[in-house]
């Protein structure tokens, strides 16, 4: 916010956009739309973040079966191929929020994911422009904005205006984000619902389906390092 002029209006757009996706799903804990007025009327938890910038406590579980491409070919469900997967993160980002507060400004105001993004795109031979849907770990709404920057969907520092322009909205945005409603509005299963949603998007069976989705990005935890990311694809080649 200090560096780039990101505002609470931008946080609100993340929360409202994810809520709009969530209420279309029967499994979602949140069933009503979130209005801008409701967002700004919510109690402040830790300034500048209010109630709707946080996840909700949830009980739940998701199982994922990982196998070889050869075996997956004959299974009942169409596979989602792993194009790339990486663990890592900006070296000083994790400690920067716990005990070492000296990360350079542009690392401090980031999600710590930039090295993971670079490796993912290199491994897969794709760019951000090739990603059709992004399932970004959303424990706190500002981190969604910073991941949009770090994964190259918009320039660094421009994530706020980028979401304000509707770019993360399903189905009209340039990169629909958390089409399931995310941790913020569907359920907080520590990111596993993001993996499930990515698989459903690739299979073409998602409730809020991105038409023709070929490549889905899933990220895990801007948090103590390592953080992680995965690219899933409809095609295995």
């Amino acid at each position: 916010m200090h560096l780039y002029g990101t505002t609470r209006e931008h946080f609100a757009e993340v929360a409202i956009s994810e809520r709009a996706n969530a209420i279309r799903r029967p499994t979602s804990l949140q069933t009503q739309p979130l209005t801008r007025d409701e967002y700004f009327a919510a109690r402040m938890i830790s300034d500048p973040m209010c109630l709707f910038d946080y996840t909700q406590e949830t009980d739940g579980a998701v199982a994922v079966i990982t196998t070889s491409a050869d075996r997956a070919r004959d299974l009942r469900q169409p596979p989602a191929y792993i194009l790339a997967s990486a663990h890592g993160g900006t070296g000083r980002w994790g400690p920067a929020i716990f005990r070492y507060f000296q990360a350079p400004d542009d690392e401090f105001a980031s999600s710590g994911h930039r090295p993971v993004a670079k490796r993912l795109y290199e491994m897969a031979g794709v760019t951000a422009a090739d990603v059709d849907v992004a399932l970004l770990y959303d424990h706190f709404s500002p981190l969604v904005i910073m991941q949009l920057e770090d994964y190259g969907f918009c320039p660094i520092g421009e994530g706020g205006p980028f979401v304000a322009e509707g770019n993360m909205r399903w189905p009209t945005g340039t990169i629909p984000v958390n089409t399931h409603g995310g941790n913020l509005s569907e359920a907080y299963i520590i990111g596993m619902t993001h993996v499930r949603e990515a698989v459903e998007q690739i299979r073409g069976t998602a409730v809020n389906q991105v038409e023709g989705a070929e490549i889905a990005l899933v990220t895990g935890g801007p948090a103590a390092l390592p953080v992680s990311g995965t690219l899933l694809a409809r095609s295995g080649s």
Partner: protein, 131 residues
């Protein structure tokens, strides 16, 4: 505490003489540690046995003026534990210490003797870029 609205706080400190650690091994108050070969890259506000930039085991103690600017802060309004019921709202911030030669040695601290709503207005003016 200082830092003008709309201006991102920066250290403008002048170099300070280094002081050796107390022979007893106990560092003097308000000191930081730095790697002698990379004094600006590795300066840290905490008492460390190793350089924060390269993990070298050699550090030297430097005396700092004990003042700084607010790098970032939050006003906590939700008591995370019962014992904090009477404490909220309170402000916690990351303070960039003066005299760290642009390395930005920082420490986390509660910001006291300052009305939290006054702090919040500083955040708002920064966020908007002016006003």
């Amino acid at each position: 505490m200082s830092g003008e609205p709309g201006v991102f706080p920066r250290c403008s400190g002048t170099p300070v003489p280094t002081t050796p650690p107390d022979p007893s091994g106990k560092p003097p108050p308000r000191t930081g540690s730095s790697h002698p070969a990379a004094p600006t890259a590795g300066r840290s506000a905490s008492r460390r046995r190793r350089s924060v930039s390269c993990a070298a085991p050699r550090v030297e103690w430097v005396e700092l003026p004990g003042t700084g600017t607010v790098y970032s802060f939050t006003v906590v309004r939700h008591p995370l534990a019962r014992m904090l019921n009477e404490v909220v709202p309170y402000a916690s911030g990351i303070i960039e210490l003066d005299g760290t030669q642009g390395a930005g040695a920082r420490m986390i601290a509660n910001i006291v003797e300052c009305h939290v709503d006054a702090l919040r207005s500083v955040t708002a003016s920064r966020s908007c870029g002016n006003t």
